[in-house]
């Protein structure tokens, strides 16, 4: 999809969030074009999840502005932002454990963006569609407690996708998966992206960033340290120094 010249779908201008005296996110600027797929990387404590919480309305900004399709969403409640079409997953998945996978996804379908709101019957129909998309169709009627970790991660993505977002924020959905499980999860993200959803994802797994992202944004101490094509960014000496370390840098070079 060509995004050249297109206005930004999401635009962050000087976004700042402080906790006590510490600026967890400190004047962050970037734009995401519709249909793009962008990775956010950076050291633990760099402000990645805080930034996601700012975008999805969990936190109020202490400075700057966030614009969605041209209009400010700063200060808006999380459910209103979800209604506008910004869906998200959480790092620590919190499914309803005694309910089935299908029921969990139907809940996402009942809320979320304006297009998603519908009756029970339609919600379950949408849930079935989404479960098929993420590869959980065969386990739709299993209680969540019976799902493996990779399947719970799929379910977390499915719940967010069922809200029919135009922009999907994924917070470390591949943590704790091995390389082969990651490759399977990447395929799922590609399929979701191919339905026309813009994707902004946080990951520490470079296989994900290189495998699926068109652009990477590196955060360090709440600021943007580097931004660009993943292959270029991961060779940036500042990024190796602050985040990757020599062992991983060498691994990337040799692969």
């Amino acid at each position: 999809m060509s995004t050249a010249g297109a206005p930004a779908q999401l635009e962050l201008r000087g976004v700042t969030k402080r906790f006590g005296g510490v600026a967890a996110v400190d004047g962050v600027n970037f734009e995401i074009a519709k249909g793009d797929i962008v990775g956010i990387i950076g050291p633990n404590g760099a402000g990645k999840t805080t930034l996601l919480n700012c975008i999805s309305g969990v936190y109020h900004l202490d400075g700057g502005d966030i614009r969605w399709e041209g209009g400010s969403i700063a200060g808006m409640a999380p459910h209103r932002i979800a209604n506008l079409g910004i869906g998200r997953t959480f790092q620590i998945v919190k499914p309803f454990g005694s309910m089935t996978a299908r029921e969990n996804v139907a809940i996402g379908a009942l809320f979320g963006s304006a297009q998603a709101r519908r009756g029970m019957k339609q919600a379950f129909a949408l849930a079935d569609e989404v479960l098929e998309l993420v590869g959980l169709k065969a386990k739709a009627d299993q209680p969540v407690s019976a799902l493996t970790i990779p399947d719970r991660k799929r379910l977390e993505v499915a719940r967010a996708v069922a809200t029919r977002p135009q922009l999907l924020l994924l917070d470390e959905v591949m943590a704790g998966l091995n390389n082969v499980e990651i490759d399977e999860a990447l395929e799922m993200v590609r399929l979701v992206h191919a339905t026309g959803v813009t994707v902004l994802l946080i990951e520490h797994v470079m296989r994900v960033i290189v495998g699926v992202c068109r652009r990477a944004i590196v955060l360090d101490s709440g600021r943007v340290l580097a931004e660009g094509e993943p292959e270029v960014v991961l060779r940036d000496e500042r990024v190796i120094e602050a985040y990757l370390g020599e062992r991983y840098a060498n691994r990337l070079k040799s692969s």
Binding site: G42, P43, N44, G45, Q91, A146, T148, I149, P150, E172, A175, G176, L177, N178, N179, V180, E181, I182, D183, H204, M206, R207, A242, Y243, L244, G245, E246, R247, Y248, R251
Partner: protein
């Protein structure tokens, strides 16, 4: 079965271990040997039974059959505190720190069962491994970064003075550079004489540093041998490394 242990008495000897939960068995006839001072990698897909195995080895999950012996003594289905006292420490997946307690208290809790006078010395030794924690001892553990929390979790395990330290998912959610640093420390702990059992999804990292490896598949040991040999196994490369 072939293992690196040529010593007369392994530190840990597991034979025919079967265990599981209400829903059914998860482990089926596991045999494992760990010699003193070894660094063992335990790899396998999610759901293969790795964390359950660590649970049984630390007395949190009951064995339904089979035996576990530690330095020649049968410790099958002994209580967790007995296993800790006999030298098995478990660093659980997700760190499981007491978030609203200080870093120092979290570390000292690792020595809960000890009555000797060397606990303070060992605190110094742990801070030697993790100097980054020195000026954070009074901070609530929950306010630390993920990497620092993993340091506290490993440090807490070391405060029990274990002969065997079991670390579940060292790299989970951590930046590459932090993982590199933690792996170096874990190797140092091992060189200083503590045997290590490392469960790790980043299989390449685990097989790089281990001297011996076990591959679990559906609750059974599918393969074991020198780590370098396991790393080069075509099945392992395809199933876990994605190469």
């Amino acid at each position: 079965m072939p293992t690196a242990s040529s010593l007369p008495e392994p530190l840990l000897k597991v034979r025919g271990l079967t265990a599981g939960y209400d829903a059914g068995p998860v482990l089926f006839g596991i045999d494992i040997d760990i010699a003193p001072g070894e660094l063992i990698a335990l790899v396998g897909a999610n759901g293969a039974g790795k964390s359950t195995l660590l649970g049984v080895l630390s007395g949190l999950v009951r064995a339904t059959s089979g035996t576990i012996s530690l330095a020649g003594h049968d410790v099958t289905n002994r209580r967790p505190e007995v296993l800790v006292r006999n030298g098995v420490a478990h660093v659980p997946q997700g760190r499981r720190l007491f978030g609203t307690m200080s870093v120092e208290k979290n570390l000292i809790l690792g020595a809960y069962l000890r009555r000797d006078r060397e606990v303070r010395d060992d605190l110094g030794r742990v801070l030697g491994y993790f100097p980054a924690l020195k000026d954070k001892l009074s901070r609530d553990a929950g306010t630390l970064s993920g990497g620092e929390q993993q340091m506290v979790a490993i440090g807490r395990g070391m405060m029990a003075r274990p002969k065997l330290l079991m670390v579940d998912e060292l790299s989970l959610g951590l930046a590459p550079k932090v993982v590199e640093r933690l792996i170096e420390v874990v190797q140092q702990i091992n060189r200083d004489g503590t045997a290590l059992l490392l469960v790790e999804q980043d299989v390449l990292v685990a097989l790089d540093v281990a001297n011996h490896a076990y591959v679990l598949e559906n609750g059974r040991v599918a393969l074991s041998g020198p780590a370098a040999q396991v790393r080069d196994d075509p099945g392992v490369r395809k199933a876990y490394l994605g190469l």
